[in-house]
Structure formats: structure tokens, C-alpha cells
Symmetry: C2
Subunit: 124 residues, 2 copies
């Protein structure tokens, strides 16, 4: 055993890892963050969210809305109109993500400037 290479332990902070995993479990995937962002601009109906997030399928939207509701990030209200209207809105917990999402989008802009924009691929 090489003493020099193993004498200093590098801590990994399991608490941080657990917290990040908890957060990721809630907002992970391709669609949840976009859904939360569109809802941050106002309550929306199923069809309106579909129009905002152009490439989401009704199956995925339905599935992700259910999961977000289960985790208490959004709430669902049914109006007895003809045809029926269903409106989704952010809960207090959902709105508590706004600062994080602000950071995320800011970093996304930075990332596009420094990495995505500088290679031939992925400019889309």
C-alpha cells in the first residue's frame, strides 16, 4: 500500500448527496422543469401547457403532471364547463423552486455561450 496516496481522506458529504438526490427525484427528467417554468407565468390548462412545450406528448404531460401533483409542486382544479376545463397551478412549494430555476436558466445561458455555441453540433 502506498502511504502517500491514501493518507488524506477526501470527504464526500453524504448529507449533500442525499439532499441532491431528494431534489432530483422531484424535478428530474426532461419535462418537469419546463412544466414548472411555464406554470410560473400563470395558471394553465392541459392544452395550453402542450402548446408551450411543443414537443411533449399528451402521455408524458399527463404522467409528469400527476407526479408533480403527487409531490405537491402543482395543484389541479377541475371546472365544470363544457367541455371540461382543468387548470394547473404552482403550489407554495412549487413557487419555492423559482430561485433555483432562475439559477438553472442563467447557467443554461452561460453554458450555451461557452460550450454549445462553440461546437458545430448541438447548435439547434
Amino acid at each position: 500500500m502506498n502511504t502517500a496516496s491514501k493518507s488524506l481522506k477526501k470527504p464526500s458529504c453524504p448529507k449533500k448527496l442525499i439532499a441532491s438526490r431528494d431534489a432530483l427525484d422531484a424535478i428530474q427528467g426532461k419535462w418537469r422543469v419546463p412544466i414548472i417554468i411555464t406554470l410560473s407565468f400563470g395558471d394553465k390548462r392541459f392544452g395550453e401547457i402542450r402548446k408551450d412545450i411543443e414537443d411533449i406528448s399528451p402521455k408524458m404531460l399527463s404522467q409528469e403532471l400527476k407526479e408533480l401533483e403527487r409531490n405537491q409542486l402543482i395543484s389541479r382544479k377541475i371546472y365544470d364547463t363544457m367541455p371540461v376545463t382543468v387548470e394547473y397551478s404552482l403550489t407554495t412549494l412549487g413557487r419555492s423552486l423559482e430561485k433555483l430555476l432562475e439559477e438553472l436558466t442563467e447557467w443554461g445561458v452561460h453554458f450555451r455561450k461557452t460550450v454549445i455555441g462553440k461546437k458545430g453540433e448541438r447548435v439547434g
Copy 2:
């Protein structure tokens, strides 16, 4: 057409949606954030990261490290020791995620307190 329901457009801010998608493309999935967090505590070798993130398989770790390197979030250094040593470290771009990850873990703690901790399931 119902004039009342459609007179006020709810903006969706496509710029924000694109930026969030760019960011998510880079850090999305179950493993990338944990990898970046462990590396924020110091440069680490393949085996060390495996020990920190207990349930990651070598295949997924290898795959995600490659993707993180491709997106310039981490860098990889090979040392000509016996047996070979490979060390991974965060780049400047990778370190620029720290504020975002701080927000993420803080929110994760809040989420566990208010949601995960209050139901029988998912206490793990």
C-alpha cells in the same frame, strides 16, 4: 370562441425554456449531479467516486464521466503509475455550478422536511 377565456395571452417565455433545456441536457439524470458534488470536495479517482456514490455501476459512472467531460464540466488526467491512475476534477465551468447545486441541495432538504418526511413511503 369564448372571448373572455382567450383575450389574455399567458406568456411562456421560450427563452427561459430553451435555457433550462440547455442546462438540463448537461446535468440531467440520476448521476451527474452527485458526481459533480463529490468532485467539488476534491479531485477523485474512478474507484473513489464509486465508493462515494454507492449504488452507481461502473458502466454508468464511466458513461456519465465521459458525457461530463464532453460538456467540459470535468477533466480527466491519466497518471502513468502501476496500476494506472486516472483522476477526475472539476473544470472552471464545472465549478460554476456550485451556487446552483447549493440551491438544489437546500431545496432538497426543504422538500424532505415538508413532503418526503410526511408520508409513510419514500422515507428511505
